[in-house]
Symmetry: none
Amino acid sequence: MRTIARHGFARTTMAHVAKAAGLSQGIVNFYFKTKEALLYETLEHLADEYGSLLQRALDKAGPDPVAALDAMIETDLGPDACTPTKSAVWLAFWAESRGRPKYRQLCRELAETYHRQVTGLCGRLAKRGGTEGLDVETIARSFNALVDGLWVDLATDPQSFDRERAKHACRAYFAGFFPAEFGPLLARARDGHRRAG
Amino acid sequence: MRTIARHGFARTTMAHVAKAAGLSQGIVNFYFKTKEALLYETLEHLADEYGSLLQRALDKAGPDPVAALDAMIETDLGPDACTPTKSAVWLAFWAESRGRPKYRQLCRELAETYHRQVTGLCGRLAKRGGTEGLDVETIARSFNALVDGLWVDLATDPQSFDRERAKHACRAYFAGFFPAEFGPLLARARDGHRRAG
Amino acid sequence: MRTIARHGFARTTMAHVAKAAGLSQGIVNFYFKTKEALLYETLEHLADEYGSLLQRALDKAGPDPVAALDAMIETDLGPDACTPTKSAVWLAFWAESRGRPKYRQLCRELAETYHRQVTGLCGRLAKRGGTEGLDVETIARSFNALVDGLWVDLATDPQSFDRERAKHACRAYFAGFFPAEFGPLLARARDGHRRAG
Amino acid sequence: MRTIARHGFARTTMAHVAKAAGLSQGIVNFYFKTKEALLYETLEHLADEYGSLLQRALDKAGPDPVAALDAMIETDLGPDACTPTKSAVWLAFWAESRGRPKYRQLCRELAETYHRQVTGLCGRLAKRGGTEGLDVETIARSFNALVDGLWVDLATDPQSFDRERAKHACRAYFAGFFPAEFGPLLARARDGHRRAG
DNA sequence: AATGAATGAGGGTTCATTCAT
DNA sequence: CATGAATGAACCCTCATTCAT
């Protein structure tokens, strides 16, 4: 992952990877069989890790949709899932997933799962707030896009942004649709900043 | 661009490009001197085209910040700037821009210009609405992220989304911060859909 | 073929082949796509060449079975089909054909065709001579084995043998079963030797 | 030997050999020092085994040249020396012996010994039969070739042939030169077949 | 004595680049 | 200008060999 993040996908060679890992090329190939296999297992590892981070966060958040959505935000932009390296690697795989069916499938499955969860949570939120008219499908997809975009921006220009402001942006995004629920969260975060600053 | 979109950056070869363009390999190299140069000129072309599309749209929109922001949305997600091929190519360059300073610089300049424009427009909007307390900096960066993310999602899964819904999502995003200004736009779009449907 | 004959199959590298042909490795791979393909095409070339040599000889020999069999001997051990290089290459392919179905198939087809022809000719000879009791099937297979063995010996030790004596051995072999037909041929060859020596 | 027979010489790896023998790769290298050494010792083993089989058969056959030659036939095509595996390995070594002086030397020595014995026996037979005019040198070399060819054919296509018919072919070969001596052998074998069938 | 993880040289192959035509 | 055959560096991968355990 470090090698992909540093050199880019196209310039990632087995020699780079082996040297970065402090291993010989022979043994890397012995374990991973193939460069393609190594790359795919990297993607799998990334997806698995992300999946379990998210699951753990959701379990901890409990049944409340606001808490759950906030947990997703905290996970997506937390220090474990959203490092400069990892976001760069995700970006690389997204870019390369066109024309590589295996990558595409895995990415899409993850995105679909994510989308279903967000849609479900937003749906419950809309029902509770009496705003069933909202297009939760689009809200969810756009939230996904927002997070993806934040990752892209963090990957391409880590200076432009910090993770806390990114989280704030996500909360502000939800506050636009669910002011009653996410307004307080926003305010609390703002006060936190004021106290911290 | 078609070749990058189809095969991915890492698997794009001069032979592919030449064949796709109906040219001999020799002449492609004669004109572009180098693969690296061809790729860079591709990025420049993409950036120039996008820049002029945006400029034209802004000129046409006039001085009103709402109209200008909406023009940006229309451009970013319009049929000229946001084709499946182009979004895929942007994605590829973003991914590869780490570790390639020339790409990085060009991408960053474009993003900075864009960011300045959005920030300016949002600032005027905030002033006009009497909501100077808004963090226009973050609003602008997040809008950028949202558009980037929508491009990513359109590039990786064209089915998940259509451009009209993406535009709607952008307007909804702004409506969260500037309800008075973007609310009517949203409503109009919604009515348009109703009439059309 | 020269490289296989010189270094053996196992030590034949593309670098050897390219250097022996006075070409770069790149262009060899460009033309043959694959080492495996190059080897297979070599076998095909060898088989085609042998097939057409044999066919031409048989056409020239006419319908007489003795003349035809003698033409086969002349071809198999003639200067075109039976060079040190070619016999070595045949030997290499025979050895490697176990475990390489494609080689095996081609070799077997050629052998089967050959066997059918020899069996047919011997059958006509046996009928003509009133010795229908002969096991022409085995006679033909053994003749095939004899020729193969002569090739092997010529390949492994070119000094041990010359082609003329090998031909003589083949005629002597047939003379054992068809003395009336092949006896004169033997005698003529012997006289030829006497005159020549 | 099993590995060479199955995969061919070129594709025989130390890993294959070790696995087939149920040993670790380390210990195989420890005992044989080198792949080259292992291969050479394999050839030596094969040659030694063949040599002692032949010697034992000749000892048992006694001084009669016909019995001795028949013993050679029985050995060469008997169940101990002529298994599918062994004939395949011989073929592999013959093929590879070009360009490997050590193999070549060993193969040639064996062939020379064999040739001397056959020549001697045929010479005694010719003298006894009053046919000193025969070219025993060529008869012997051709017999060797015949046996080699039978091995090749058995190695490349075990179905085409069985060992009994191969033996018969050898006897028929000798019967062509020494009808008085090998005719009865042939007849006996034929009767044996009849009784058996 | 025995293992198997580890090494690294060398193989086949790809592909950006050059150049005679 | 244009071609495409030709080059060679660099890639991925295999595998004989070594060595700590």
